[in-house]
């Protein structure tokens, strides 16, 4: 049952990314190009998603536990430190260079553009490198 739920949630998320335009790097870069030929449309993606989570997460997290699992798995780290800020800053630079963040890149893989596969491979390598740096 849990696996079916995970698959359905992934499908809904993937459809959402494709419907929204987030799997189109040209649109994403146009959205980030605020001083040029700005395409503001994609603000509604994050806006729409955050409206739902802001309202519904409050209700969900009032529960003692999730419906199909023993407990909520929430991030415990509260530190606002150089890792958080540096990591987020580096992520944004990469996002601005190619136009993909992790979800859309993964969702666009089966469009079978080889450059997306190259991006994903480089992304996984970047994660491994950060994991090495982080553990020293």
């Amino acid at each position: 049952m849990k696996n079916v739920i995970a698959l359905l949630c992934g499908l809904m998320f993937g459809v959402g990314l494709a419907v929204s335009g987030m799997t189109d790097t040209a649109k994403v870069l146009g959205f980030l190009d605020v001083s040029g030929n700005w395409i503001p449309d994609l603000a509604f993606v994050m806006g729409g998603a955050v409206c739902v989570t802001l309202l519904a997460f409050r209700l969900v997290l009032r529960r003692a536990k999730p419906l199909l699992s023993a407990s909520f798995s929430l991030p415990v780290n509260k530190a606002i430190d150089s890792r958080l800020l540096g990591g987020a800053a580096i992520f944004g630079i990469g996002w601005g260079i190619y136009g993909y963040c992790p979800g859309p890149a993964l969702s666009a893989l089966l469009y079978l553009d080889l450059k997306t596969a190259v991006f994903m491979t480089a992304m996984l390598l970047g994660m491994v490198l950060a994991n090495r740096v982080g553990s020293t």
Binding site: G16, S20, P40, Y98, V118, L124
Partner: protein, 139 residues
């Protein structure tokens, strides 16, 4: 012309998916964390691979069912994909999250960490596009 309908519908679907995952399985729909957990063989991993399978197949369902063509392939160079991918991967792992984990879910939980992370990566994303397009002339 502003097209907000499909971005809004997409955003609502993404938000609803994140709420369902939290309500039912108690998990945060942070894609970078799910990918990392999947490839690093975290315990209790089958839900991650199935979520990823859904992410892969969902767009194909959408494009097939509606007859919407795939987005045009990127016109950027190969090195953009390599450098962009490396920085995205390094950054999301170091900063513990991406647009979905920090942006959609973290802001939804009103997490100060996530709000600051989201403002930061939006700012450097915008600054990067500005520098690449308007200072360096497109590279």
């Amino acid at each position: 012309m502003l097209n907000y309908t499909t971005p809004l519908i997409g955003g609502l679907l993404i938000g609803t998916s994140a709420v369902a995952l939290l309500l039912l399985l108690g998990r945060i729909a942070g894609i970078s964390g799910i990918i990392w957990g999947a490839v690093s063989a975290a315990p209790d991993n089958s839900w991650r691979w199935l979520f990823i399978l859904g992410l892969l197949v969902g767009p194909l369902l959408y494009h097939t069912a509606t007859g919407t063509p795939y987005p045009a392939p990127s016109s950027l160079q190969w090195w953009h994909a390599v450098v962009g991918g490396l920085l995205v991967g390094f950054g999301v792992k170091l900063g513990s999250g991406c647009t979905s984990g920090h942006g959609v879910c973290g802001i939804g939980r009103l997490s100060p960490r996530s709000i600051i992370a989201t403002v930061t990566f939006m700012a450097t994303g915008i600054a990067t596009v500005y520098v690449v397009r308007h200072v360096l002339g497109g590279l």
